[in-house]
Every structure is written in C-alpha cells, then in structure tokens.
Symmetry: C2
Subunit: 489 residues, 2 copies
Amino acid sequence: MKETTIEEQQDFVKDITKMSDDFDRWYTDVVRKAEMADWSGVRGMMVVRPYGWAMWENITRAFDDMIKESGHENWAFPLLIPQELLVKEAAHIEGFGPEVAWVTKAGAAMEELEEPLAVRPTSETIIGHLIRRYIQSHRDLPKLTNQWNSVVRWEMRSRLFLRSREFWWQEGHTFHASAQEAIDEAELILGYYRSIAEDWLAVPVFSGKKSRAETFPGAEHTLTLEGLMRDGMALQMGTSHYFGQNFARAYDISFSNKDNEKELCYSTSWGISTRLVGALVMAHGDDSGLVVPPRVAPIQVVIVPIYRDADGRAKVEAFIGGWTPELKAAGIRHRVDWRDERPGDKYAHWELKGVPLRLNVGARDADAAQVEMVDRLSRQRVSVPVSGIAQRLRDELDAFQKKLFDRAHEFRKENTYELSTLDEVVAHFKERGGFVWVPWSGDAECEERAKAEAGGVTIRTLDDEEKPSGECFVCGKPAKHRVSLAKAY
Amino acid sequence: MKETTIEEQQDFVKDITKMSDDFDRWYTDVVRKAEMADWSGVRGMMVVRPYGWAMWENITRAFDDMIKESGHENWAFPLLIPQELLVKEAAHIEGFGPEVAWVTKAGAAMEELEEPLAVRPTSETIIGHLIRRYIQSHRDLPKLTNQWNSVVRWEMRSRLFLRSREFWWQEGHTFHASAQEAIDEAELILGYYRSIAEDWLAVPVFSGKKSRAETFPGAEHTLTLEGLMRDGMALQMGTSHYFGQNFARAYDISFSNKDNEKELCYSTSWGISTRLVGALVMAHGDDSGLVVPPRVAPIQVVIVPIYRDADGRAKVEAFIGGWTPELKAAGIRHRVDWRDERPGDKYAHWELKGVPLRLNVGARDADAAQVEMVDRLSRQRVSVPVSGIAQRLRDELDAFQKKLFDRAHEFRKENTYELSTLDEVVAHFKERGGFVWVPWSGDAECEERAKAEAGGVTIRTLDDEEKPSGECFVCGKPAKHRVSLAKAY
C-alpha cells in the first residue's frame, strides 16, 4: 500500500472553505462540492442532486415505515389551492399569505383564471376542506392523513436545504374524536421525530413545547425538536402541533359523537423537511467535508481498488468480486470506485462526501485475503480479513453511527450552559453560541426583552419535565418554566 | 358459518352502475366507492385517497428498485420553470404550451413577477438546462436521471386517474455518449415497463414503436405499451422515447468525446403515471367492483371475524391473534375487519375494493383450527388449515396473480383480430372494440384516412418483429409494417 502513503497523510481538503474561517461558506461549499444540491437558476429554488436526494429518501423511508405501522395513511391532495380556501382562516393567511406564489393564468392563450390558485405553501387548508367529506361519525375517526410533497414559499433569503422557495417534506394532518387522543398523537409523532433525529441522523435534540410567541399560528401548542449545529446555532428539526378544535372550527370539520351529537374534531399537524439534510451536514461535518451517519448514507462503504497495471487490476478486481456479493446480500450500500483517478484523489473525494467506511484494496491485500479499512471519523487504518467481512462491516457501521451520535452529544454538552440573569445571557451570546438554560416567568415581555437585548436569541424549548426553581432571568419573578435559549436558523 | 349464507349468495353489488350498462359510469363509481380517488373541488384536480395511493406506491417501489439496480438516480428538479426555458424548443412548446398553468404573481402584495413561471407540465426543459452543468466529458456519461413528482396540464376533459389537471408520475431523462447506448436505454426501460404492466398489474400488453404521427414531439422514435381495457378500448400504459441528438441540440448539451472533440449527447425520456392505477381498474374490474392484482394490492388478505356475542368475539379474536403474526412475518399485507357491521356488508365492502383473498373466521373455525377462504375471482369457499397458513396464502396470492393475468390475456385474445381492408376495419369498429392487426404501407395518408373513416381509430404499435406480408389495408401497396389498430383512451 506504499504507493498511496503520501496522499493519505494529507487531510484531503480541496477547494472548500475551512469551517472555522467562514461557517456559511463552508456549508455551501460542502453541500455543492459533495454533489448534494445546487441553486437551480430559478431564483431561490434548489436542484437536489442524487447524493443529497438519496439521504432524504432514506429519511422518508424510515419515517414512512413508522407512521404506517401506527395506522397513518398517505394521500395525495392537490398542488393548487383556490384563494378562497387559503384566506378562510385568519391566522393561516396571516402566516402564509406573504409567501404565496399565485397561478393566475392557464392554457393556450394564457387566459386569466376566474380565481387565482395558490401553489400550496402547505396543504392544511385544502385538507381541511376535503377531509370533511370523509368524516361523519366517530366511527370515521381518527383520520390519520399524511402527504409527501413539495411546497412553495416565496422566501427572500435563501440557503441550500435550510431555506428555499421550494422544499420537500411530509405534512401530517390528523383528526380525532377527543382532545386527549389528539394531544397523544402530537406526542407520538414527536417521538418518531426524535428517533429520526437521534437514531438515524445521530443528532441529539432537546424537545418540548414552544413558548406562546413561537407557537404555530392557530395551534394550542407546538412541540419541537432542536438540534445544535457546529457553529453553535440551534436548528429546529421538526414540529408537531396540537390545534384543539381551532382548525376544525375554521373549516367546519365535525362528527357525530357516541351520544349522536355533532362535535368539532380535534386535530394535529406535523412536518419534517429536506432541512434535515442540511442539519446532518452542519451537525457532523468538518474541514474535510461531510460525515454522513451510516443509517442515512447513500453509500456506507466505498471500496478503492489500488493497482499499477492491467495485471494488478485484474487481480484486485477478481478479489473484490469474491466478497462484494456478501455485502449486497447483507444490505450494505457500497460502491467500488473504478474511476480513472489516482487513489489519493479518490480518498479525498469520498472523504468530502463523508462516506463512513473506506476499504483500500491492493494486490497484497488480495494475497493476504484482507482489506485496509479507514473510517471517516478516526481515519485510522485497520486490516480486516475478508472472511466474515459483511458482519464486520455491519458492526463497524453500527459503531460508527453510535460514535457520531456520542460526538455530537459531547459537543452539545460542552456547549450547553445554565445561567441566571439577562446580563449573563447577553454577555454569553456576545461571545459564543450553544444552548443556555434559564428559569423564565412565562411572561412574553421577558421573552421579547431577551430577544432584543441578546441579539435575536429565542426560547427554543420549554422543559416541562423538570420543576423550575429560582427566579425569571429577566424580571426576577418566580419562574414557571425552565427554558432553553439559543440563536437559531 | 350459517349466519352469513344469505349474504354470501348475493353478488354484493351495491350502488355501482353495471359495467355492461355504462362503462364510464361504472368506472367512476368503482374508483369513488372503492375509496381510491375523488374530484377535489379544484376543477380537474384529483384527491387520491389512501387505497388508491397505496397502489401507486406499490408500483413506484417496484419500478424504483428496477431503475436503481441499473444505475439510475433520483433527482429533484424545480417545480416552477421560467417561460424562457419552456419556449426554447419549438416542438416542446407546441406540444405543451396550451396546457401550461402560469405563476405570474407572488409574495405579500401579489406582485407581478418579471417573468412568468410555468408549473411544470414535464421537467424536460429544466432538466435539459441544468444537466449541462454536470456533463463535460464522456466520463460523466451516461447520466441516468429520474424524478418522482406531480405535473400540471390544463386539460379540458377529465377522468379520474386517466386525465386530470394534476397527475403523479416518474419522468426519466438520460444522456449518453452514443446513439446505440441511448437506443438500448429506451429499450431497457420499455422492458421494465412491460414487467410492471404484466408481472405487477397483470395486464398483458402489445409493445413496439409508434407511427411517425403518434411519436412524441421532438423524438426520433417512441416505444409504447398498449393494454386492453374491458370495454375494448386500448390504454397507453407507458412510453419510452429516443431523441437522438435533437433534444441535446435544442438545449446545447454536449460532451468532449474520447477523441477530445465536442459532441452533442444522445438522450431518452420515459414515463409512467397514476394512469396505471386507472388501467388496473378497467382491465380487471367487474360488476361487483375492483379486482386488485395481489402484487400491488394495498390489502392482499382481509379477515372477517364472525361472532354473535362477546364470548364468541373473544374466542375468534384469540384464534385470529394466534396466526396473524405469521402473515405479518411473511410480508402478507392483511387487515382484520373489526368494524361494527354485519358480515355480509363487510363481504360486499371488500369485494368492491377488490381484495384478492378473504378469510371468514367464526367460532367453529377456531375449534377446527381452520379458516374459510374465498377468492375474489372464483368466489369459491375453501377450508384452509391454519397450520402453515402463511405459505398457503403466499401460494394462493401467486396463483391469483397468474389467474388474473391469464384471464386478461384470454380476454385480449378473444378481442384481437386480423383484418385486411379498410372496409373490414370500418365495419369492425362500428360493432366492437379490441385490437385489429393489419398490414400497413407506412404512409401517413393511409393512417389518417383510417382514423377519419373508422371513428378515430389509431395505430397503437408497429410490430417490427414479424415480417409484414400482403398489402396495405388502405392503399393496397406492399406493406412495410404489421400494425395494431384500436380506439384508445
């Protein structure tokens, strides 16, 4: 393996800004150079390339399995929504009105439509409108609907995966016969989201209710997951809303209950989006590029053949062909990189793309019936016998997944603080990011004042589990909640 | 099982028009009453309900596996396409211009956009525009792109699943370094489509090239699959187009070849859509409703518990709970119908929904450790021991899938004719539908004349396999092709 020693000692960084120099540019460089996504030329709209899309597909598959297991069903509701429906609920149009793209003309002569149609910014209005048909009695409940689609919001700022005029998501909308059942549903989904974040994306999250000010328009309460990115900013990774009967009231969604009385449904909605792909970049990446959690990695293991001539290649090829079928049978997503490049360039390429495990395979390895394994986190080389290689790689991938989570968890621990006063909070966020836990009175005024004085910091989660102690960090009154503060994307 | 004998002897038809009375109404009744789809209230746009959507999901999963296995990759291209791109290729805008919905306003004040954006009627223009970035050298080829999405076409006529202003599909667009490779690609995909139609949907198809007049705008040739519906009309079930360099010329998509010379790419495109869900309804349904092929059936086996009182229910429930885990482990999609309805009504419900196998399970069955199995095609009752039930049901489902295909194949055979003259063809289509094979000169005039005189009949496929013999059915000149004629959706 001597021929590649020099390249391996380098850090394989090429063309990407260092994270410590400029996090934003680093992020964009990584997303683009790792071939995840680009701007499309249509202003504010992304093109998601196969490497990025495959990560999203892996997330969708995992979540779709979870919700189907608990009786949720996928629907396809229309892309275009009549203006009349969109303006039906005041809170809704207030929230989304400014971001809507309108279809006003159609057909051969670009004729004006009688009523403009919104390209859905979310489907809740059309779902609210349509679901009424399918709900008469309590026997029709719960209705647990979900849709995978893309939505359009006319954002002015943009950032690949995090904020763009079109993004891909799932939107769940459920309707229930009792408040408790709907509240439980919102919690159930939050649990699934936590599993996606922590078990799949290896990003530890704080979860809990939002403050009133941060609650979704029209909702009784909003549950959220908040992850910590490597620049110290928080990222909201999923939300689950409980609407009480508010939404059903606006769209007149009622059922006849067991006493044969008409009653409004209780509803929830919840969503995760392609923003999660951005989250995994910002939570795990480093100066060499991406580090992709194995469970969502499009390629979990890359094999780099090393040879000098045709004979060497034939030998290595035969050797690799002997055990890759085992990887396939074991469901390990792998690729052999036969491109016409130097091994060192290939190493850099796959490091940038964050593939968890790389196997370097040369003629001597073939003789010894072994491969050289390098993992993306430790970068240590280990010889691995090909006998039993599929099981070994499975174990290594599981260990990698855990190490990645542990590293992120450690990072969050180092960047989570307990403070007591607004002065401390202001001073903290002048110098660093992370999460800051403080006692809070529950008063919106205190929340606003902290936001104004501490450079836009917001309450990310309310921790209802722990009994709050002490006085509000702003007003000094007895605290009602312990809350996490952070600057957020 | 006596308590349900009377209901079982009925044909369980309720509320749906008879197929023989009015095929169109029968179709709409079935689609709606089987809870597959409805009109959404947004003119010409469908809402696809879980039972219909799950069929589409099963189709997408099967096809997605096929194309990934052969190296195709999923992308996400933008929903909105600038007008400038859409009008770039003359043939394209001629084909799609009249059907485009235009976004002209956006944002808070509904401001006019500088340039209208089309809601994609297909993504080929934006893909052509963007793919250029990712193709420099022959080493970047082939580029095998695919996208799952919905598209909007401002259709004036509409029919659930078959023709609507929004439909769901996959669109594949591939770029190659040689003509032969692109031609082979189009053939490869046609083979996959044939497998989806025949192996999954149990619909036998004629496949082959389209005539010039029926070829996709801008394509060198179009390959098609044509299935026969139970009203004798043909339905196009998928198309695969070879563009030569035409598309690459319009969008300037070139690569440097092995001699380091700039050359235009050779391209293909291909698609199947939610229309396939309509196809399975029209190819297999009967007066009782749907008959769903097991491989795409959302529910393959429905279990109807039969009991008179709480004790009976408890007994049956315990019995069923003893072996349903085996079905789950075997991947058999099943449901136990515990709804509060009479068994006979449940039978009718699941017949209408076309579930392949129904298991009636009462207290005596529990005693005898058996179930009563009824299949949707023969409606015969068979006692099946629960020992080894998962394997038995697997076998029954496979047999059902085959029987359904054989039945459709037999139906097509009975409705396929060989004729020689235009007079015969005209007389034929006055009285019946089906496929009619005739020898054809290859002249567009003969094709047009046949269409005009035989009530809109079109050439569905050219059969290149068999040597044509005889004279053109219209002009009497020596035939160049043997072609299938039909009236088509």
